[in-house]
Subunit: 447 residues, 2 copies
Amino acid sequence: MMKLGAFLPAPGHHVAAWRHPHARPDGGLDFDYYRSLVRTAERGRFDMVFLSDGAGVRTTYRDAEELSRQGRMVHFEPLTLLSALAVHTTHIGLTATASTTYNEPFNIARKFASLDFLSSGRSGWNVVTSVTDAEAQNFNLDRQPDHATRYDRAREFMDVVTGLWDSWEDDAFEYDKESGRFFDPDKLHILHHQGKHFSVRGPLNVARPPQGYPVIVQAGSSPDGQDFAARWAEVVFTAQQTLDQARTFYRGIKKQAAEHGRNPDDVKVLPGTFIVVGRTRAEAEDKYAALQDLVDPVVGLGLLTGQLGDVDISGHPLDGPLPDLPPTEGSTSKQQLIYEQARREGLTIRQLYLSVAGGRGHRFLLGTPESIADELEEWFVGEGADGFNIMPDYLPDGLDAIVDLLVPELQRRGLFRTEYEGRTLRDNLGLPRPAFGAARHPAERRA
Amino acid sequence: MMKLGAFLPAPGHHVAAWRHPHARPDGGLDFDYYRSLVRTAERGRFDMVFLSDGAGVRTTYRDAEELSRQGRMVHFEPLTLLSALAVHTTHIGLTATASTTYNEPFNIARKFASLDFLSSGRSGWNVVTSVTDAEAQNFNLDRQPDHATRYDRAREFMDVVTGLWDSWEDDAFEYDKESGRFFDPDKLHILHHQGKHFSVRGPLNVARPPQGYPVIVQAGSSPDGQDFAARWAEVVFTAQQTLDQARTFYRGIKKQAAEHGRNPDDVKVLPGTFIVVGRTRAEAEDKYAALQDLVDPVVGLGLLTGQLGDVDISGHPLDGPLPDLPPTEGSTSKQQLIYEQARREGLTIRQLYLSVAGGRGHRFLLGTPESIADELEEWFVGEGADGFNIMPDYLPDGLDAIVDLLVPELQRRGLFRTEYEGRTLRDNLGLPRPAFGAARHPAERRA
């Protein structure tokens, strides 16, 4: 069965989504709006909602006037939002992004363990390293740490966090009122981590999470990112534009996971997929054209600059080619993806920003439920994907259309569930529950 | 009107609460349990629930066997729990403790702003500096920073957090779909904070909170703590044992607040009050005796050690006097309070730990609804308190008894509300909503 994530930034993925007549530009801070979206995704039997995050407002615009054209400025912090959504949903997984660069592992281990208890085992953590100077400048730095340092910290961060989740064995707490013994002292394990980036004693002041560990999600596609994913990720979110590329990536990740002593089936690869679906192809084309017409050139260029790792291209003519780019300390894999697309398709800067205005470098599918189901099926059966992280164009209509039109078509083909298999996110994704101490001994993860 | 907080650590304040036959020792990680408690407090028209917190498990016990006698080991992280409770309640305030010592101000500003939106203006932040080496050791340190350094950081932390909450004016967001302008660029204010402990550019990626700023709560009672409270706190939680002491503290805080250019009415002083209430005095005494009988000496001594700032007294006989104590880098005001009590009442170590087994140095009231209401009224009309942070003995029974017996008696006397005055925590506490930029200019806070 296909696995589906619902990637739901308010008010949608298209950069001009907020200007659509039906969009709610203030939705990012409205709980009722989010509750309605997530219940729609749960009605559609999605495995999980997925919230991206950044610890700052992107500030690559020249001034506040330019920035004010941008439509995604303020929104809930994902862990607080998902905690509230946890108690208004019953089956759907709840995956929040949190940065290893600007948090301490003890705080992150606690919060995700707490969310896993609030949701009775439906939490996921999208592990990221932060990739902008704008974020660094909110955390006592002038510029972000370099790529290698960020990943080095992230790897040690995972050792600490999983170690803290293993502070207590699953059945450590006895609550024996008679004898006065609250827990079995043999089942407490104090971490005593001493490393290069962190010294963390433990134990965690939360019990072992219902899922053992929350599901680990990861999206880095650079060599460092792929190695990290192969070692740690159970869901890999990736940007792939052709089936050949997707297959190469898919096989690479599974192979590297096996080299880390893991069962390749325990890593689910979900390429991001930007979708515009209509009852007819013409309806879908009209929807998309309406959104493209709303793209402000300032916003388009700002988006492209971000995609290129905050490389300044403002001096180049919009209707000329993309210049050669310097290396970035931002996301190297994303920069390369966009650059290759520009060269491959011979796009001007303007054509390039319009082409990423929806999916930001992710695969873009436009059409009818049948045509889009064909395209998803091709990648799924062709071993390019275990499923997809679905990116609606604008909300709530885009998600409604996917749930009401596309999901039934996938179900009809037997590609997607009609009922949830279980109650935890692991149950639904078909991932094993890690045994106590599993993170320290990857070989134990084998099926 | 009196202001009342419900201070609700699962499974209650008494150190042996978890061993009570009716107590739920696993309640700290059970959302339904907390939802039920907080709805009871809301039915009782409490101003707020108050959750204390520490970033670690206290490790002053000699070994895991001793530690296993202790009953408060694992619980929800407060911000995730209150986010979930926010969407299952309508009027009660939600105050979480978060440390300025082991967090970054950008993260804290975001999370509390997010909680304020989730709860439509019912969030409060209990600002603490962390006071144990056990926490320090979870954050890359061997020992905690000294008292003065912690407060120096905390003061700058507040400048940054309030500055970030003022990133956007209240009406900054226009969402003008036609013109494509999302916000008014004149209403964005980038902080550019450069200080001794922090460099934070801003802006925050959350709009200005519904309450302007979440309500600031503070509990430090050392000279540094009182000065901090006078400058920043809108609710002061304090431990006072006699009316004379309480009056001195109350007048001191109000006077210092005035010296900071604030209206003294905008600082509400709420002494912590441990309550055992029964229909008759004998019933209350029986309840208390039953709890005291359940106190394990190892736990009693561990509790006392913590109250004394982690000073080791294990070499001294339980039935002898408390020895002279060295200075602590923990909570100096709490150490002094306990020490003075021991001397004043001539208590042995065992008698001392039994005396703090319930209220941990806070005022202790045992009796009938009438007698307890008399005692609360005396402090309230006697200018020792603006209200009380109520500490039930064990849960849920202790809170039920307070809501069903004591609250009606206070309402009958016209001392406490029968309906909420408004929808935000500020409305109910009678606190003004801070204007944009208020924190930078305390004089603007005058009524």
